[in-house]
């Protein structure tokens, strides 16, 4: 097994770990960590192919990894801000308990919810 294949296998293993984490864990922060691990696995692939490719002086892989790191940083910042906001709203970070307003309900409950929303709006307006 050559070094390139070792790097590629490490990268594939990291990607599989990240994918499994993003698919199976319930905590949203762990899901985000899995996504970060997947991004890093892709970066490792870039660097390995840059190094063992036929034109390492072209620097294409390196520059791509730099941009990828920058975009991943932006993604992490926005993702964690979303998680904090969701936690503030739902009081949980469990992705299975986070859901939008119930859609499949009988008309009576939805109307009562509408009245509730209108009532809260009026309350806010009066306040």
């Amino acid at each position: 097994m050559t070094p390139l294949q070792i790097y590629l296998l490490v990268s594939a293993l990291l990607f599989a770990i990240g994918l499994a984490a993003a698919l199976t864990r319930r905590n949203a922060i762990i899901v985000l960590m899995g996504i970060e691990i997947m991004l890093n696995a892709a970066n490792l692939n870039f660097v390995a192919f840059w190094r063992f490719g036929s034109h390492p002086e072209a620097l294409t892989g390196l520059v791509f990894v730099l941009f990828s790191i920058g975009v991943a940083a932006a993604e992490a910042a926005v993702g964690l801000a979303l998680i904090i906001s969701i936690y503030r709203h739902f009081k949980t970070t469990d992705v299975n308990q986070i859901s939008p307003a119930p859609v499949a309900q009988s008309p009576g409950t939805s109307r009562s919810q509408g009245e509730l929303a209108a009532g809260s709006n009026a309350q806010e307006g009066s306040a």
Binding site: I17, A21, L23, M33, V47, V71
Partner: protein, 194 residues
């Protein structure tokens, strides 16, 4: 080769621990360790600048951000809730199948024959470098060292050939910063819903 094996095993083990532990702080710690191991792998690949950028951005910023998020969202007792979703088996199977397919492709491809002797030495003639550099008006001098990725070269590439993507990335980071602050702002509500 031994160093590579140790680093690779450590990185993968820390990555696996980072997503399988129950205590979120431990998860963040092992994630930082795994990212540090990746930086070591970059160093062994000869990409020093990428390694230091990895340490700076991931261990210095992203890991700290994750720790902040973990501490800010720690509500009540984590108790004995199940760690995994209901359909966790299918997720694990999908990941394992993906790894099997990719590893078979890697092992059976010509990647091993691509460059058995290790990294390609840089070309000796300056003409080939003038071709890759993209800026034909200022062809670089003869490559001084055997390392093709000095900070000097990366900086020149970023400032000439990739200057537009760099500016766009700066814009994206600014927008993400503002967006993150706006999203995470405390909602101004006199009566928070019960």
């Amino acid at each position: 080769m031994v160093t590579l094996a140790i680093t690779a095993v450590g990185t993968v083990a820390c990555g696996a621990l980072a997503v399988s532990l129950r205590n979120l702080v431990h998860c963040a710690l092992f994630l930082a360790l795994s990212l540090g191991g990746l930086a070591l792998l970059y160093l062994q690949l000869g990409a020093e600048f990428i390694a230091f950028a990895q340490v700076l951005v991931y261990i210095g910023a992203v890991a700290i951000l994750i720790v902040f998020a973990v501490l800010l969202t720690r509500g009540g007792d984590p108790a004995r809730e199940p760690l995994l979703s209901a359909g966790w088996l299918s997720g694990v199977l999908i990941a394992a199948g993906l790894f099997a397919i990719v590893s078979i492709a890697i092992l059976s491809s010509g990647a091993g024959k691509l460059n058995n002797a290790g990294p390609v030495p840089p070309p000796d003639s300056g003409s080939a470098q003038a071709v890759w550099q993209g800026d034909a008006r200022q062809p670089l001098q003869q490559m001084p060292t055997s390392n093709p990725a000095t900070v000097d070269r990366i900086g020149q590439a970023l400032m000439t050939k990739y200057v537009l993507p760099l500016e766009v990335l700066g814009l994206l980071l600014t927008a993400a910063l503002i967006g993150a602050v706006l999203i995470a702002l405390q909602e101004q509500r006199p009566n928070p819903p019960a």
